[in-house]
Symmetry: C2
Subunit: 69 residues, 2 copies
Protein backbone atom coordinates (compact mmCIF):
# COMPACT_ATOMS: atom_id res chain seq x y z
CA UNK A 1 0.00 0.00 0.00
CA UNK A 2 1.47 3.34 -0.92
CA UNK A 3 -0.64 6.08 0.56
CA UNK A 4 0.46 9.65 1.08
CA UNK A 5 -0.86 9.94 4.59
CA UNK A 6 2.37 9.83 6.55
CA UNK A 7 5.41 11.70 5.24
CA UNK A 8 8.61 9.69 4.62
CA UNK A 9 10.63 12.59 6.04
CA UNK A 10 8.87 12.04 9.37
CA UNK A 11 9.90 8.39 9.33
CA UNK A 12 13.52 9.42 8.84
CA UNK A 13 13.30 11.90 11.73
CA UNK A 14 11.85 9.25 14.04
CA UNK A 15 14.66 6.83 13.13
CA UNK A 16 17.37 9.45 13.53
CA UNK A 17 15.95 10.44 16.90
CA UNK A 18 16.19 6.78 17.89
CA UNK A 19 19.92 6.88 17.15
CA UNK A 20 20.19 5.94 13.48
CA UNK A 21 23.22 7.34 11.67
CA UNK A 22 21.81 6.63 8.25
CA UNK A 23 18.45 5.39 7.00
CA UNK A 24 17.83 3.62 3.70
CA UNK A 25 14.87 4.73 1.58
CA UNK A 26 13.33 1.29 1.88
CA UNK A 27 13.59 1.47 5.67
CA UNK A 28 11.61 4.72 5.68
CA UNK A 29 8.96 3.13 3.46
CA UNK A 30 8.88 0.02 5.66
CA UNK A 31 8.37 2.03 8.84
CA UNK A 32 5.63 4.05 7.17
CA UNK A 33 3.86 0.90 6.07
CA UNK A 34 4.03 -0.77 9.50
CA UNK A 35 2.82 2.37 11.22
CA UNK A 36 -0.04 2.95 8.79
CA UNK A 37 -1.16 -0.62 9.22
CA UNK A 38 -1.15 -0.20 12.99
CA UNK A 39 -3.07 3.08 12.64
CA UNK A 40 -5.67 1.40 10.44
CA UNK A 41 -6.15 -1.41 12.95
CA UNK A 42 -6.55 1.05 15.81
CA UNK A 43 -8.98 3.15 13.78
CA UNK A 44 -11.20 0.16 12.97
CA UNK A 45 -11.33 -0.79 16.66
CA UNK A 46 -12.03 2.78 17.72
CA UNK A 47 -14.93 3.04 15.25
CA UNK A 48 -16.41 -0.19 16.66
CA UNK A 49 -16.13 1.16 20.19
CA UNK A 50 -17.80 4.46 19.32
CA UNK A 51 -20.71 2.65 17.67
CA UNK A 52 -20.95 0.36 20.69
CA UNK A 53 -21.28 3.47 22.87
CA UNK A 54 -24.06 4.77 20.61
CA UNK A 55 -22.01 7.59 19.16
CA UNK A 56 -21.25 8.69 15.62
CA UNK A 57 -18.29 10.75 16.78
CA UNK A 58 -14.98 9.10 17.53
CA UNK A 59 -13.62 10.38 20.84
CA UNK A 60 -10.18 10.14 22.41
CA UNK A 61 -11.42 7.43 24.78
CA UNK A 62 -12.24 5.18 21.83
CA UNK A 63 -8.64 5.48 20.65
CA UNK A 64 -7.26 4.91 24.13
CA UNK A 65 -9.36 1.79 24.61
CA UNK A 66 -8.33 0.49 21.19
CA UNK A 67 -4.65 1.07 21.98
CA UNK A 68 -4.93 -1.17 25.06
CA UNK A 69 -6.06 -4.21 23.10
CA UNK B 1 4.38 14.77 23.75
CA UNK B 2 3.32 17.12 20.99
CA UNK B 3 5.59 16.74 18.02
CA UNK B 4 4.83 17.87 14.50
CA UNK B 5 5.95 14.69 12.84
CA UNK B 6 2.59 13.21 11.91
CA UNK B 7 -0.14 15.50 10.56
CA UNK B 8 -3.47 15.54 12.43
CA UNK B 9 -5.27 15.69 9.07
CA UNK B 10 -3.81 12.27 8.27
CA UNK B 11 -5.22 10.90 11.53
CA UNK B 12 -8.66 12.15 10.55
CA UNK B 13 -8.37 10.53 7.11
CA UNK B 14 -7.37 7.20 8.62
CA UNK B 15 -10.34 7.31 11.01
CA UNK B 16 -12.79 8.32 8.27
CA UNK B 17 -11.49 5.53 6.05
CA UNK B 18 -12.18 3.15 8.93
CA UNK B 19 -15.82 4.24 8.91
CA UNK B 20 -15.95 7.20 11.29
CA UNK B 21 -18.70 9.73 10.59
CA UNK B 22 -17.14 12.38 12.77
CA UNK B 23 -13.86 12.66 14.64
CA UNK B 24 -13.20 14.83 17.68
CA UNK B 25 -10.02 16.91 17.76
CA UNK B 26 -8.87 15.05 20.85
CA UNK B 27 -9.35 11.73 19.07
CA UNK B 28 -7.04 12.85 16.27
CA UNK B 29 -4.44 13.93 18.82
CA UNK B 30 -4.83 10.63 20.70
CA UNK B 31 -4.31 8.54 17.57
CA UNK B 32 -1.28 10.60 16.63
CA UNK B 33 0.22 10.11 20.09
CA UNK B 34 -0.34 6.34 20.13
CA UNK B 35 1.06 5.97 16.63
CA UNK B 36 4.12 8.10 17.33
CA UNK B 37 4.84 6.11 20.45
CA UNK B 38 4.62 2.88 18.47
CA UNK B 39 6.88 4.37 15.78
CA UNK B 40 9.44 5.38 18.40
CA UNK B 41 9.46 1.90 19.92
CA UNK B 42 9.92 0.29 16.51
CA UNK B 43 12.68 2.74 15.63
CA UNK B 44 14.63 1.99 18.81
CA UNK B 45 14.42 -1.74 18.14
CA UNK B 46 15.42 -1.29 14.49
CA UNK B 47 18.48 0.74 15.49
CA UNK B 48 19.51 -2.02 17.91
CA UNK B 49 19.14 -4.63 15.18
CA UNK B 50 21.19 -2.64 12.68
CA UNK B 51 24.01 -2.22 15.20
CA UNK B 52 23.82 -5.91 16.01
CA UNK B 53 24.31 -6.62 12.30
CA UNK B 54 27.37 -4.33 12.27
CA UNK B 55 25.72 -1.63 10.19
CA UNK B 56 25.32 2.09 10.65
CA UNK B 57 22.52 2.22 8.11
CA UNK B 58 19.02 1.18 9.06
CA UNK B 59 17.57 -1.12 6.41
CA UNK B 60 14.04 -2.28 5.74
CA UNK B 61 14.83 -5.68 7.27
CA UNK B 62 15.59 -4.03 10.61
CA UNK B 63 12.13 -2.46 10.60
CA UNK B 64 10.47 -5.70 9.55
CA UNK B 65 12.20 -7.66 12.31
CA UNK B 66 11.26 -5.00 14.87
CA UNK B 67 7.62 -5.09 13.77
CA UNK B 68 7.46 -8.83 14.49
CA UNK B 69 8.39 -8.43 18.15
Amino acid sequence: MTSRLLPLAAMEKILKKAGASRVSDKAKAALKEVIEEKANELALQAVKFSLHAGRKTIKANDIKLASKE
